[in-house]
């Protein structure tokens, strides 16, 4: 099963709506609640990253019998140093975004902790792709 959800850069009022749709689908499919919880945390963080940093993006969801593969792609500034971005506490969020309680540098570490596999590829001034894989078993 494949699904695709658009993510608007800069529109915080809609942040989380794509993750919420995926959560509903996983619940309908009776996926183990613990795996749904982990997946929802990782997808939300990836979605917020697109809203906070990119111009636009999309969440591509592929649900198999044994796993969910989600690719979150965006058009945006890209990440010059992925190792640095993965460090807990490192953030390039604007002061405005931080004031809302985002930009604590916990997003990517949260994704790593709540996914079985996580892959990031990025090109500066082009965009970023985050792939998240969680197994149901």
């Amino acid at each position: 099963m494949e699904f695709k959800f658009a993510i608007e850069g800069g529109n915080f009022s809609k942040a989380g709506s794509a993750s919420s749709e995926v959560k509903k689908i996983l619940k309908q499919l009776n996926v183990n609640p613990k795996i749904i919880k982990r997946t929802v945390v990782s997808l939300y963080e990836a979605e917020v990253n697109v809203v906070a940093h990119a111009f636009e993006g999309c969440m591509n969801v592929d649900i198999d019998t044994d796993k969910i593969i989600v690719k979150i792609e965006d058009k945006g500034p890209g990440i010059p140093d992925i190792d640095q971005a993965m460090q807990e506490g490192y953030s390039t969020a604007t002061p405005q975004v931080r004031e809302m309680g985002f930009g604590a540098g916990m997003g990517l570490p949260n994704i790593k902790r709540n996914s079985d596999q996580m892959n990031i590829t990025s090109k500066v001034d082009v965009g970023t792709e985050v792939e998240i894989i969680n197994y149901f078993g």
Partner: protein, 113 residues
């Protein structure tokens, strides 16, 4: 213990989501960093925060939190309130600061266990 119980015991104001006052409370989490709550709060937790914008509802809904309690008399923004009513996840408000409120909630919730 349900949300209505903490409303009564702590004299909290129900700002929105009154249709969820019977939600079960099993614990709580206090933080103003959204990713911290996303990563560490759990289902049926009551969340103490000073953030009032709509994204707190996205988190409450995704994490299936019992309720949000705003500190220092803060009130939710209009679109936050609307989503709280839609989702049936109450937003409550206290005149107290996070430290005092969290201490009281901790005591009440643990007494009920």
């Amino acid at each position: 213990m349900i949300v209505q119980d903490i409303v009564e015991k702590l004299g909290l104001k129900v700002c929105s989501g009154a249709n969820g006052l019977n939600r079960e409370i099993e614990g709580g989490y206090t933080s103003d960093l959204l990713s911290d709550v996303m990563g560490n709060a759990d289902e049926n937790h009551v969340w103490v925060t000073l953030q009032t914008h709509k994204n707190i509802m996205a988190i409450a809904s995704l994490k299936e939190l019992a309720a949000i309690v705003l500190v220092k008399g803060y009130e939710p923004e209009a679109d936050t309130l609307e989503q709280s009513n839609e989702e049936g996840i109450p937003i409550l408000s206290s005149e107290e600061e996070a430290f005092e409120l969290t201490g009281k909630l901790y005591e009440i919730i643990n007494q009920a266990k």
